[in-house]
């Protein structure tokens, strides 16, 4: 049986190289994310840990999704071969064993290649993290011996589980199918597809609902999960959509022979189209879902600040400024940015305590001036009691009114009593400390913004000039815009870390699927040429079809991504009082153009090389 696997391997290398590649990249990506995550956790880089957690999740998901869809596709492509085996006397179990042993072989091969590749990926990923400032420059992830076992488990696991369902279906291939020219099974919408399609659709709808209740912290992972589940659902249901898109193409290209042929081919190759579209659906859903969420949160923060802040000018400086004493200044509210490490200790029972540390960016404020420049009222407690070792927290911090937060400010441990709870916010700043809780030396070094309100009738120009001696002066509007663009840089950084390599993986999977699909169509292309199509027309036909498939991926992926925006729209409405959905048009444009370009170029290249031989030599060959 293994001998047969091996000889099939040599015969259909495109299928197997493609499948091995997906395993290899998946293993590399998961291994790298996991190693970096472990190192980041040891180093206690909280921001990086959260990011890497999501990255790891997406990598693992993509590995499972892409490998299983590729393997299922390769099995479907070989239906005729398998029927032939059945005709020659293979039992169902033997067909399954053949496919499973192949999957094991490919899984091992993919792992063997994936582990060293993972080290390269790890280098790239940690460079990215350092470059974007999520970890310090000296951060270097460490190799762990046990990762080999994990990687092998992932490589073998995804390969075998990917082929499990497909092999069961393949074992039901009837021997008679070997005698028919078209090996494709008529029924593509299997019960399993319906089941997973509906299950995941329900899952993603509930995630969207949950994300509408989430705070800014939870919104990103929830949106990512919603986008992923929606992508799975729509990939499973995509055979339903293929004919629909085919019809649109048919109408768009009415009258053209190639258009009609492309439509007919789409119709005929529903499984092929669906398989090619699957990785694209995930890629587009992830990109749009995540960037839409990040942009919307950023925009909501801006909306919030515009509504909440009452002031005219903002001075950016270090430590406290003498802005209050400048003539024409009514109120000057300084806020100092100060990193604070909080520890939470919870009693686990049996004399065991669990301690959790968290780094937060606290704002050190003058409570009276703060109240006069901010409209938001505490939901509990009062800012007037913010004196001495006290703190005001936001509602999603997990510290109720009256409890004590153990904080480390500078090099001093300070217990801070919660005296006020502020409403949840997208703009950030989860903790307010009074000036007298912080040692003067620490405060003097902290970067600060001072929000200034002018006295009635004051000369704005003169005051602005006078404030210039303390630091950089901007109007409130300018300052909000600037902090928004800084926020956006952070968002782009987050996107790059989470989706950079994972996106690349999905993109390679798209190319892979196009190549696999074309490799199986040599004979069909040859027949088309014998019936009068020129080589150029065949290539154009392949291009048209692949664009139709790309369109399917884009539409469904866009749908899945946009679905997640519903949740974020509801969340921003609840927290910021105004539903904010930012559609990432630029990214959308880039994705559409990029997908058409990549898929188009791949299909032109594969169709061109598949039509290199004279048609007669291929159309005549039975195999």
């Amino acid at each position: 049986m293994l001998r047969l696997s091996w000889s099939t391997f040599r015969e259909r290398w495109q299928l197997f190289i493609g499948a091995t590649l997906t395993v290899c990249l998946g293993v590399a990506l998961v291994q790298s994310s996991l190693l970096i995550l472990v190192s980041a956790a040891v180093g206690g880089y909280v921001e990086a840990i959260a990011l890497l957690g999501i990255t790891l999740g997406i990598s693992a998901f993509l590995a499972v999704f892409i490998v299983s869809s590729t393997f299922a596709f390769t099995v479907a492509q070989r239906r005729r071969d398998l029927a032939l085996l059945r005709l020659t006397g293979a039992a169902r179990g033997q067909v399954r064993r053949l496919l499973l042993s192949e999957a094991t072989l490919l899984g091992l091969l993919g792992t063997a290649l994936g582990v060293p590749l993972g080290l390269l990926v790890m280098r790239a990923q940690s460079w990215l993290l350092r470059d974007l400032g999520f970890v310090p420059a000296e951060f270097a992830p460490r190799w762990q011996g046990w990762i080999l076992a994990v990687s092998a488990g992932i490589g073998l696991g995804v390969a075998v589980s990917g082929v499990l369902a497909a092999s069961r279906r393949a074992a039901k291939v009837r021997p008679l199918e070997a005698l028919r020219d078209t090996g494709e099974a008529a029924r593509v919408m299997t019960g399993l597809r319906w089941f997973f399609g509906i299950l995941f659709l329900a899952g993603s709808v509930s995630l969207v609902i949950v994300s509408s209740f989430a705070g800014p912290e939870g919104a990103i992972p929830l949106a990512v999960n919603a986008a992923l589940t929606a992508a799975v659902a729509l990939s499973a249901l995509s055979p339903l959509v293929v004919p629909l898109i085919g019809r649109v193409f048919g109408v768009a290209l009415r009258g053209s022979t190639l258009g009609g042929l492309a439509q007919a081919n789409l119709w005929d190759g529903v499984r092929r189209s669906a398989s090619t579209a699957a990785p694209l659906i995930v890629l587009v859903a992830l990109l749009l879902g995540q960037s839409g969420t990040l942009l919307s949160i950023g925009e909501a923060g801006q909306v919030e600040q515009r509504r909440d802040l009452r002031g005219d000018l903002v001075v950016t400086a270090q430590g406290q400024t003498g802005a209050a004493s400048v003539p024409g200044v009514d109120v000057a509210a300084p806020q100092l940015r100060l990193p604070v490490r909080t520890t939470t200790t919870t009693y686990e029972g049996d004399g065991e305590y669990e301690t959790e540390a968290d780094n937060v960016d606290a704002l050190v404020v003058d409570p009276a001036a703060y109240a006069r420049t901010h409209r938001a009222e505490p939901v509990a407690g009062s800012l007037t009691r913010l004196r001495g070792n006290t703190v005001a927290v936001t509602a999603d911090s997990g510290f109720p009114l009256g409890t004590t937060v153990d904080a480390r400010i500078g090099d001093r441990d300070v217990p801070l009593r919660v005296v006020a709870v502020l409403p949840m916010t997208f703009a950030g700043g989860s903790m307010l400390l009074p000036v007298d809780a912080v040692p003067a030396a620490v405060a003097a070094r902290a970067p600060s913004e001072t929000i200034v309100r002018l006295a009635p009738g004051a000369d704005a120009g003169a005051v602005r000039g006078a404030l210039g001696e303390f630091g950089e002066v901007r109007t409130l509007e300018e300052w909000i815009d600037q902090s928004a663009s800084r926020q956006q840089q952070v968002s782009t950084g987050i996107m790059t870390v989470i989706l950079g390599l994972a996106g690349l993986y999905a993109l390679i999977a798209v190319v892979n699927a196009v190549v696999i699909a074309a490799a199986e169509r040599r004979r069909e292309f040859a027949v088309a040429r014998m019936s009068g199509l020129t080589r150029g027309q065949v290539v154009r036909l392949a291009l048209l079809e692949s664009w139709a498939v790309a369109a399917i991926g884009l539409v469904l992926g866009g749908l899945a991504g946009a679905g997640t925006w519903v949740g974020i729209g509801a969340a921003t409405e609840r927290i910021a009082g105004q539903s904010t959905i930012v559609v990432p048009w630029t990214l959308l444009g880039v994705v559409v153009a990029g997908a058409l370009l990549v898929v188009g170029a791949t299909s032109v290249w594969t169709a061109w090389s598949a039509t290199r031989a004279r048609p007669v030599s291929l159309a005549g060959a039975a195999e």
Binding site: S7, R10, L84, R86, T88, G89, A91, R92, Q94, E623
Partner: protein
């Protein structure tokens, strides 16, 4: 035309059960309102050691008859017996066992596995059956189709006629009681076709092989012991040892 509904073909050796027997077999496709009767109450027995050609116009049900007789397709009504055993309701495992031991197939499009050499293709049915494969046996079978020299070649390195002979060797390696052949000469030039037919003739004459062969080609049909004519899913005529010209003439009458 007087169409005999039940037909017995070929010599009966010693009155044992026929190699294959169809009893009132029907095969319908489609829905109730749009019913296609591919086979409509066909009864026929193929005697052991006989070579029968099945002919008829396109769509007459030739291939369906072959598929039903070989257990590749389920019948809608009637019974199929293989050396007296009813295989009508056999499950997949039982049919798999039949394909391994008692039924051999040869097709127009050869259906060899492209990645395996001639030798490996021939050995495949035995391997799938979990048997030890003596190299000598495989070589013997390949030699009997005149391809011992080319045993290490892959299908694409062989001519059509050679590929078909490998396919015959593969079908014969399990010593099946019946060989089903679907247009075995359909894709071959006339010289290769003659060679293949000569090979089949030898198998019948020397080893008493039973062959049921669907064909379009009157010359191929004339090599068989007898010819059975189908039209619209029914047996409409049969002829014992006709010449090619007689076969062509009867076929032309059917197609008219």
């Amino acid at each position: 035309m007087t169409a005999p509904l039940s037909t017995e073909l070929g010599r009966r050796a010693g009155g044992g059960p026929a190699a294959v027997e169809l009893r009132d077999v029907s095969r319908h496709y489609g829905t109730k309102h749009d019913l296609v009767r591919a086979l409509d109450g066909v009864s026929v027995a193929f005697a052991e050691g006989s070579w029968t050609a099945v002919m008829g116009p396109s769509g007459s049900g030739k291939s369906t008859l072959l598929h039903c007789a070989a257990g590749l397709e389920r019948v809608s009504g009637g019974q199929v017996l293989l050396t007296g055993d009813d295989i009508t309701a056999a499950d997949d495992a039982a049919l798999t066992r039949l394909r391994r031991s008692r039924i051999g197939f040869v097709f127009q499009s050869f259906n060899l596995i492209g990645s395996l050499t001639a030798e490996q293709n021939v050995a495949l049915p035995l391997k799938l059956a979990g048997q030890r494969v003596p190299a000598r046996q495989v070589r013997q079978v390949l030699a009997s189709v005149g391809l011992d020299e080319r045993r290490r070649h892959r299908p694409r390195e062989l001519s059509g006629g050679q590929q078909q002979r490998v396919a015959i060797a593969r079908a014969m390696v399990t010593r099946p009681s019946v060989l089903f052949a679907d247009e075995p000469t359909g894709a071959l030039d006339s010289a290769s076709a003659r060679q293949v037919l000569r090979l089949l003739r030898e198998m019948v004459d020397r080893a008493g092989q039973t062959i049921v062969m669907v064909t379009h080609d009157p010359a191929a049909a004339a090599s068989a012991d007898s010819v059975m004519f189908l039209s619209d899913g029914r047996i409409v005529d049969h002829a014992a040892a006709p010449t090619a010209a007689e076969v062509a003439e009867r076929l032309a009458r059917l197609e008219a």
